[in-house]
């Protein structure tokens, strides 16, 4: 589905270039959820932004390719890229309030995303938007549609973002830490929602996260990154069950044991 190979990106500073990621390669097969994990500065964000052509002005991909649908996204021209983004690849960002336009009504934003890829009457836009909002379990979709982003709670806003990202039923969804900005008790709802949407359409998911638990429970494959390089790739069960790279081992060891297991041990021991 998506094949990334040898991806290398540099950031220009005043004096020289700084390599942010180097020689990144991995696959996202059809119908598979891939977790891209790493700590701060490991280059997860730069990797997906290189793939989607969303690097800031100072960043530049200097090597490698990202093959999707038979098109190399790195070398694709602007209009090719535009017709893929949103239609063939959906993107869910970290902070829902950052993602939504604060000044346009939610309905207008649905209309813009729909009309980016097909023509549709105003009534149809409304019908599609309502249906989509219902499918992501937004309560009171009519009211939400009429309203603005700031009137929503964090979880609801992220549901709206997911609905927008999946409006055109893209076969691949890239999610960048989609629950980090949300309250703890809401995070799993959103993960379950994304998971449900992905498996319902037999889609692929590239899930960027720093939470190994999320990868263990929601992904089938994992790519571990460290300071701009991939250190380990494989099936989640294999990598987490028997990590090969010392960094992966270290990462897994650093995760505190689940609170219930430790506490339960102490209770029974006492």
């Amino acid at each position: 589905m998506l094949t990334v190979s040898g991806l290398t990106t540099e950031f220009r500073t005043r004096v020289s270039g700084v390599r942010a990621i180097e020689d990144i390669s991995f696959d996202v097969p059809q119908g598979v959820a891939v977790g891209l994990v790493g700590e701060t500065g490991s280059g997860k964000s730069v990797t997906i932004r290189s793939i989607l052509g969303l690097l800031p002005a100072t960043g530049k991909v200097i090597g490698g390719s990202a093959e999707f649908d038979g098109v190399d996204l790195i070398r694709a021209n602007r209009s090719q890229l535009r017709s893929i983004r949103g239609r063939r690849i959906g993107f869910v960002a970290q902070n829902p309030f950052g993602s939504l336009n604060p000044i346009l009504s939610i309905e207008k934003q649905f209309a813009n995303v729909i009309r980016a890829h097909r023509t549709m009457s105003k009534a149809d836009v409304r019908a599609v938007a309502l249906e989509r909002l219902e499918s992501v379990q937004v309560r009171g979709p009519e009211r939400v549609l009429r309203g603005y982003a700031h009137e929503l709670s964090g979880g609801m806003a992220q549901r709206v973002v997911i609905a927008l990202a999946m409006l055109h039923d893209p076969p691949l969804v890239i999610a960048d830490e989609p629950t980090t900005a949300l309250d703890v008790t809401v995070q799993r709802q959103i993960l379950d929602l994304i998971d449900g949407q992905i498996s319902a359409g037999n889609r692929s998911l590239l899930l960027v996260t720093h939470d190994l638990g999320v990868v263990a429970q929601y992904c089938q494959r994992v790519v571990v990154m460290k300071s701009g390089s991939v250190v380990e790739t494989g099936a989640v069960a294999d990598v987490f069950g028997d990590p090969r790279h010392p960094y992966t081992k270290q990462l897994l060891a650093a995760v505190p044991p689940a609170p219930w297991s430790r506490a339960a041990k102490e209770v029974t021991g006492a």
């Binding site: 989607l52 969303l54 800031p56 002005a57 100072t58 602007r78 535009r82 017709s83 893929i84 983004r85 949103g86 239609r87 690849i89 959906g90 993107f91 960002a93 970290q94 902070n95 950052g98 993602s99 939504l100 336009n101 604060p102 000044i103 346009l104 009504s105 813009n112 995303v113 980016a116 890829h117 603005y148 700031h150 973002v161 927008l164 990202a165 409006l167």
Partner: protein, 351 residues
């Protein structure tokens, strides 16, 4: 029964429409500001050293002459009386008469203010149009060559005083090339200085195209001088706010959804709209006085030039009249600004 219900209903109304309530409060403040403005302009006179009568009559006036003029001006009255008289005149729309020309200040303002407003509006048109173009283009091509080039242009324009740019314009376009008319007013010298207010807009509206053309030709240089210099300030603001807006996650998400670049830029512009509109209001305010020197260079006969000449001669009623008019205009402008911002941004909720 109804009297019991009414306050409750009103409170809930205010709760449901905080924006409307804010707007009403904002409008209600205006009379207070006006009172402060009027009083400030009265007090201003006491900071002026010396005796206005001496200023009028010259240093060699006899004490009797001074006393007579003082009585004429009402300056022999107690302060409190003068303050009340001042307000009663002001409320009747009487701003006094010039010490030197004996013209009623109000009629002077009626004559000169429209000229200034035309100059400011046309200059703003250039400044905003060009400034937005430069700023948005620069922000879009951030840190690439168009941005660097336009940044250089902006810095250069910002480094020229408007009156100097006007002089260079006169030399090049009037003296060397002969494209522009002589800098002697709003119309050719044989048309005299008596013309209806709002010369350009008025003649266009009436369909008097020969006057319109002549007036526009005379306006070209002053408008360009002001418009170019102020466009630099505008470009800098637009570049800054658009530059920030274009790097927000919101714009990234819009791109990731496959929106056209045109729509993406529009998203960013929506986000920086308030800054841009605020800056237009600020520029209008500063042009009100800032245009005065250029007006003088072109003998534009605008309010700025009139006030400047009044100031240089210590013509107290003229200074007061200018303070009140300019204050009134900026007050109105900022009121409008606040209301426009309120109407444009769904997030603004004033509590």
């Amino acid at each position: 029964m109804t009297t019991l219900v009414a306050p409750e209903a009103r409170r809930s109304w205010a709760k449901r429409h905080p924006a409307l309530r804010y707007a009403l409060v904002r409008v209600a403040i205006v009379p207070i500001s006006l009172f402060v403005l009027g009083s400030v302009s009265f007090v201003l006179v006491f900071f002026i050293p010396g005796n206005p009568a001496v200023t009028i009559l010259g240093d060699f006036a006899t004490p009797e002459q001074v006393a007579r003029v003082n009585a004429q001006l009402g300056l022999d009255q107690p302060l409190w009386d003068r303050y009340l008289t001042y307000w009663s005149h002001l409320l009747q729309g009487d701003l006094g008469t010039s010490f030197f020309t004996n013209e009623p200040v109000l009629s002077d303002i009626g004559k000169f203010l429209p000229n200034t407003i035309e100059l400011i509006l046309l200059s703003l048109l250039i400044a905003v149009g060009l400034g937005l173009l430069i700023g948005v283009t620069g922000a879009y091509f951030a840190r690439r060559w168009p941005d660097r080039l336009l940044g250089g242009v902006t810095s250069a324009l910002q480094s020229v005083p408007d009156f100097f740019l006007a002089l260079v314009g006169i030399y090049v376009f009037f003296f060397l090339l002969g494209w522009a008319p002589a800098p002697i007013g709003r119309l050719p010298i044989d048309a005299g200085t008596d013309h209806p207010p709002f010369l350009i807009f008025g003649s266009l509206f009436r369909g008097d195209f020969s006057t319109f053309g002549a007036a526009l030709g005379h306006a070209a240089l002053p408008v360009l001088a002001l418009g170019l210099v102020y466009s630099a300030y505008f470009a800098k603001t637009a570049r800054g706010s658009m530059g920030t807006a274009l790097t927000t996650p919101q714009v990234e998400f819009a791109r990731a959804c496959g929106l056209r670049e045109r729509t993406v830029v529009r998203y960013a512009f929506l986000a920086s709209r308030t800054t841009v509109i605020t800056y237009i209001a600020i520029l209008f305010g500063s042009l009100l006085g800032g245009a005065s020197i250029v007006e003088r260079v072109f003998n534009w006969r605008g309010m700025g030039q009139w006030a400047l000449e009044g100031v240089l001669k210590v013509d107290v009623p003229v200074i007061q009249g200018f303070v009140i008019t300019a204050g009134l205009m900026t007050l109105t402008l900022f009121l409008l600004l606040d209301l426009v911002v309120l109407a444009l941004d769904p997030r603004v909720s004033y509590e």
